[in-house]
């Protein structure tokens, strides 16, 4: 698979599109406390996450994970790496 295609498929969750379902593939460096909270809330490798809605300026995301809804600030989601 060409490198460009990989780049296209992989992204951070704050760049995700509303209504799409993604699979968590990893985590980049971020605040450790926030990463720990994400793990506890079910953001673990291989888990599927759906962006349900975004706020007006797309600074807050409403995501569906493990069958429940969670609103998270977009800046925090930048440490969650996903693929379609």
């Amino acid at each position: 698979m060409p490198c460009g295609a990989i780049k296209f498929l992989m992204m951070t969750l704050d760049k995700a599109v509303r209504g799409s379902v993604y699979e968590i593939v990893g985590f980049s460096d971020g605040q450790e406390a926030v990463l720990r909270r994400f793990f506890e809330l079910g953001f673990v490798q291989g888990e599927r996450v759906k962006v349900v809605s975004t706020s007006l300026q797309k600074k807050v995301f409403l995501v569906e994970i493990h069958g429940y809804l969670l609103s998270v600030r977009a800046s925090l989601l930048s440490c969650v790496q996903v693929k379609i």
Binding site: F39, E40, S55, Y68
Partner: protein, 694 residues
């Protein structure tokens, strides 16, 4: 006595269970983080005494916020006590994560599966779940008090905590050693933990990359185990917890704000105008019917005039003022309770987060701030639900800048007297100014004293729910009682102090409306020079501002009293006409504008100050008062001089001058910023692109 700790995820129903088990009346709500401190109560059941402790909601044993730390510290300091771990039946997958953390740490746990919602997303087979986890599992309904006897029986005969099969499985993982050590360490320390300075790896605020990787691995294994447990013991419909069709409107980018404004306008209208005003009126009439005979009897009995005056104006006046607020406060809390229980609060926080985040506030601040337009006192009370302490203090400090309903008589009577039909624009301008000042102060506080800890905005969406009227009744009773005791006592005592100051001279001679200079008038005259630069250096105005510290309604009645008008005998319109003759008090329209702005921004009423004291403490209340006085003085001074200049030179001339000054400053700012950014890299004269990067 058996000590029991109530532990669970936020919004799982801990406080509802606490209230049901211990017959308490603690505050609950259908959103995240209602309980912020531990609460304790003793109760008896099945011939045994229990000491039940309700703790704030946690997701795991790694605290992130202050209230989570309270709960986790409490857990580890009471590692030998029994635990009721309450889980929401419809959100079991996420809730069981905490259960596993507790079991791994060796706590004696009884699992209470709470059926909060009538609609069941997940049907749980408690026997299978109990067999899989190795602990007692009891199905309960905390609100309807179902299954509580079984829960108490399980507490008395709680099984010994088992070692879960997946903990052994961790050995086979890639980073087995690290993870195993991590979990083992957790388990051992939890049983022996006595010193809170010794932190578990999960409790540490900073952990290494290796530990973080191990943490992820453990989380993954825990969730894999939960999935297996759910597969074997639950039947799920596949519906998403918290999802609703109504959210298509409530979260829609075009409809969300109008919907919220409609809801708020409805609450405003019912609380402060139609129903609230009617109830206040009725209460006033009832008070009049009850007190008139007492007052007449007191006057006829030959009681000294000073005591009659004290009873009529200070005590009855104080009681009247407190009671006039009571229906509004009760209604406000009624609607607040409805909103809290409905689950709409989380949606409000979501839609406002990115806007208010820019000025260092949280999305959760919006409800408190908008309620400030009604009554600052009750609005400040609603700020306590916020997680971020700095945002909570900021929100409480900003509440008084939202022009409360008590200031409406000042704007309508005094503004109406001087501006006539154009007064509506003055009033709108004042409301807008309050918001602008609040935003500016919030931004300044955010970069100086109260930096917001934005990391906490991870908010769960609860499902929409209805509430029981019994619960609403309990909330209203509790808040009304709190308002009457805490706020009422301060207001009545301040009313008596103002009466003393306005009825006695410094030689303590009673003047009672007769000749002589009261203490309030003398203080007013003493402070006159301070207010002269604002355009109203008049003792009557200054005295009315001092009296307004008790309640803002007093400002108009004081000015009327000094002008010889009995406001009880006249309507607002005629009072306006009569006040317009009092040109001696206000030299020009500029001074009226300045006075109205000062009234808008200066220290709020005593009730609000006492509420600030109880919510944010003495230090921040003092800072808040200082900021309010300074802001009111500076803004009123600038407004007076601008309006005065407009009166002399004309509006457009002044407007153009200010525009030019701002344009020059803006040009300087842009040039200065450009030069500041110009940093040359080594061996370069500034021609390469990299030079402008920093």
């Amino acid at each position: 006595m058996i000590d029991v700790l109530l532990v669970g995820n936020p919004n799982a129903g801990k406080t509802t269970l606490f209230n049901s088990l211990a017959h308490a009346n603690e505050h609950v709500g259908n959103w995240h983080g209602v309980t912020v401190d531990a609460k304790e109560k003793v109760f008896s059941s099945q011939g045994e005494q229990f000491r039940l402790v309700d703790t704030p909601g946690i997701y795991s044993l790694s605290p992130l916020s202050f209230e989570e730390r309270v709960a986790v510290d409490m857990l580890f300091q009471n590692a030998d006590k029994k635990i009721i771990n309450i889980c929401d039946q419809n959100n079991l997958r996420r809730n069981l994560y905490l259960t596993l953390c507790l079991l791994e740490s060796g706590f004696d746990v009884v699992l209470a599966v709470n059926e909060i919602d009538r609609k069941q997303i997940c049907k749980v087979d408690c026997e299978k779940l109990s067999a899989l986890l190795g602990i007692d599992v009891v199905k309960i309904n905390a609100q309807k008090k179902r299954g509580l006897d079984e829960l108490v029986s399980s507490l008395k005969n709680a099984k010994k905590t088992p070692i879960l099969p997946y903990v052994k499985k961790i050995n086979f993982q890639e980073n087995a050693k690290k993870t195993r050590k991590f979990v083992e360490k957790n388990k051992i320390i939890a049983k022996t933990e006595t010193n809170s300075s010794q932190k578990l790896p999960e409790q540490k605020s900073e952990i290494s990359h290796e530990e973080l990787a191990a943490f992820h691995e453990v989380s993954k294994i825990r969730y894999a185990f939960i999935d297996e447990v759910i597969r074997q013991s639950c039947t799920c419909t596949g519906q998403v917890y918290g999802e609703s069709k109504f959210d298509k409107i409530a979260l829609n980018k075009w409809l969300a704000f109008p919907l919220f404004l409609c809801v708020l306008a409805g609450i405003f209208y019912l609380t402060f105008f139609s129903l609230g005003a009617f109830l206040s009126d009725m209460l006033g009439k009832l008070l009049e019917v009850l007190t008139t005979p007492i007052l007449t009897a007191l006057k006829n009995s030959g009681t000294a005039a000073v005591f009659v005056d004290l009873f009529e104006h200070a005590i009855l006046g104080g009681v009247g003022t407190v009671l006039s607020f009571l229906p509004q406060v009760v209604l406000l809390f009624f609607f607040l309770a409805l909103l809290e229980d409905s689950g709409y609060m989380s949606r409000i926080a979501f839609i406002f987060e990115d806007i208010l985040g820019r000025v260092g506030l949280s999305g959760k601040s919006v409800y408190t701030l908008l309620m400030g337009f009604g009554c600052s006192t009750s609005a400040i009370m609603t700020a306590r639900n916020m997680e971020d302490r700095n945002a909570k203090i900021k929100t409480a400090i900003l509440c008084p800048y939202m022009s409360c309903s008590a200031k409406i008589p000042i704007y309508t009577v005094i503004g109406g007297a001087f501006f006539g039909a154009k007064n509506i624009f003055v009033i709108l301008g004042l409301y807008l100014l309050g918001v602008i000042v609040a935003i500016t102060i919030s931004k300044i506080l955010d970069v100086t004293l109260l930096k917001s800890q934005k990391q906490s905005f991870i908010l769960e969406f609860p499902p929409y729910r209805t509430t029981s009227m019994v619960r609403i009744g309990k909330i209203l009773w509790k808040n009304a009682k709190e308002f009457l005791v805490r706020v009422g006592s301060v207001m009545i005592s301040m009313n008596i102090i103002v009466w003393l100051l306005s009825s006695f001279t410094f030689s303590f001679k009673y003047i009672g409306g007769g000749e002589g200079v009261s203490m309030l008038e003398q203080i007013g005259r003493l402070l006159c020079p301070v207010f002269a630069p604002l355009g109203f250096g008049n003792w009557a105005i200054v005295s009315s501002l001092l009296a307004g510290l008790v309640a803002k309604e007093v400002v108009v009645s004081s000015i009327a009293m000094f002008n010889g008008i009995d406001l009880n005998a006249t309507k607002l319109l005629s009072a306006s006409i009569m006040l317009s003759t009092s040109v001696v008090f206000f030299a020009s329209r500029a001074s009226v504008i300045s006075f109205l702005i000062f009234c808008l921004l200066y220290t709020p009423c005593m009730a609000s100050i006492s509420m600030l004291l109880s919510e944010i403490g003495r230090k921040w209340t003092a800072i808040s008062i200082l900021i309010q006085l300074l802001t009111a003085y500076v803004v009123a001074f600038v407004a007076y001089n601008l309006c005065f200049a407009c009166e002399i030179f004309g509006f457009w001339e002044i407007f153009l001058t200010i525009f030019c000054i701002f344009a020059v400053f803006f040009a300087f700012f842009v040039i200065f910023r450009k030069f500041k950014r110009r940093k040359f890299c080594q061996n370069c004269t500034g021609s390469c692109k990299n030079c402008f990067k920093k």
